[in-house]
């Protein structure tokens, strides 16, 4: 990865953490500043700007969450601005996980929606309160005993609460580029096997000489949903394989893959709430608990993916060469 790509990756990381209206302007300004700094450092050492020079400048400049926080208005913060994204993500994840695990009981009519809401549903908001207290105490400790900016040594009090501090900034881009290829070697064959099993789990269990009647699909699901879900999974797997072999993230393929992922999540949610998947109630409930988590993970992945696509810093079209 060259110096400019590192700078872009870094400014995108900062921009993602800024209020929407500031993202592009601040991102562009930072990109120009960092380019100047990297060029100046390279020129001082008599070399061309390279990844090492850029990484040194970026790390000295500060972690993206800290840089982004400098643009936030200061005052008394219950939750430190640099901790806010982690707080929001954790709160959403905890609430969503509790709902994902307990909501299938409503779908299977084991409890009514009202009963669920007054119990596990609204009860999930308890996590938010707990996390507010947690992050408020973490922020207070961090303000009282900050990390040494030179040695990065963290005071022992930071370990009382988990305080989200990374030692060095790491570029997201190289990992993201390498991920499909590295993981494809495992994921593609594994997914293919699981998809074949998905066509008729009862039949495959029967092949092992075990009674597979508990894994029979509900007739309605088999007739109306099995084929569309299977087709969608096949198309997604083919595109994933192509992207992995290509090793390039091409905008159109990425957009199609994201659209297919979104369609997949919508179809799964609809299946969860409107259909019986397995004929046997117990199997259906157990599978739906797993499927809820799977759907949640895929949904969060789709949102994160969309955010990555739309929060890249770009030169405004209105800007003309002087």
């Amino acid at each position: 990865m060259d110096a400019q790509k590192l700078i872009e990756s870094y400014t995108n990381d900062v921009a993602r953490r800024l209020p929407r209206k500031l993202r592009n302007e601040v991102g562009l300004e930072l990109r120009a500043l960092l380019t100047d700094k990297v060029n100046a450092l390279a020129s001082d050492t008599g070399r061309e700007p390279n990844a090492d020079t850029a990484l040194a400048v970026l790390r000295e400049f500060g972690r993206p969450e800290v840089v982004a926080a400098r643009y936030a208005p200061r005052g008394f913060n219950v939750i430190e601005p640099e901790h806010a994204p982690a707080f929001v993500k954790l709160s959403l994840a905890c609430v969503a996980l509790q709902w994902a695990v307990t909501l299938p009981r409503v779908a299977t009519s084991a409890v009514s929606f009202d009963e669920w809401w007054l119990g596990w549903g609204a009860g999930a908001l308890w996590w938010v309160g707990l996390l507010v207290v947690w992050f408020a105490l973490a922020g207070w400790i961090q303000r009282r005993s900050p990390v040494d900016p030179h040695s990065f040594v963290r005071p022992w009090t930071h370990f009382i609460f988990w305080i989200p501090v990374a030692r060095d900034w790491q570029p997201a881009l190289p990992n993201a580029e390498e991920l499909p290829y590295a993981s494809a070697k495992v994921l593609v064959p594994l997914s293919a096997v699981l998809m074949v099993l998905f066509v008729s789990p009862a039949w495959f269990i029967g092949r092992l000489g075990v009674d597979g009647s508990w894994a029979l699909y509900d007739a309605g699901f088999r007739r109306w949903l099995l084929a569309p879900l299977f087709a969608l999974m096949v198309v997604r797997l083919v595109l994933f394989t192509l992207a992995a072999v290509d090793k390039q993230r091409r905008a159109r393929t990425e957009a199609i893959r994201l659209a297919l992922l979104a369609a997949f999540v919508v179809l799964l949610v609809w299946t969860l709430f409107r259909w019986d998947i397995f004929a046997l109630t117990f199997t259906d409930l157990a599978f739906k608990i797993w499927l809820s988590i799977f759907t949640l993970v895929n949904g969060l992945n789709a949102v994160a993916w969309l955010r990555r696509l739309i929060t890249r810093v770009h030169v405004p079209k209105t800007l003309t060469q002087r």
Partner: protein, 111 residues
Amino acid sequence: MAKTQEPTATKLETELRRGALVLAVLSQLASAEYGYSLRQRLAERGMPIEEGTLYPLLRRLEEQGLLQSEWRIEEGPPRRYYKRSAEGTRLYKDLAQNWRELTATMHRLLD
């Protein structure tokens, strides 16, 4: 005891400098400058400022109507150029006058 004095001294010095930053920045923006060149200009004149302080400060001053900015593409990436607005120039003159009076007072106090 000495251990606690050092961070306190640094903090007080930082606060002292912070008070002068707005005036220092306004003083150099009679003509348009972009962040990096402004920082170098200030550093050459003995007023180094961290980028992390300078850039948010420039944005705040612009929001307050004291600076105006525009994007330009010349060499390299697009850069945002800042200069004093009419209101910024008025405030700068007032602040400069206040600063001179304050330094004269401080000189008398310190001598």
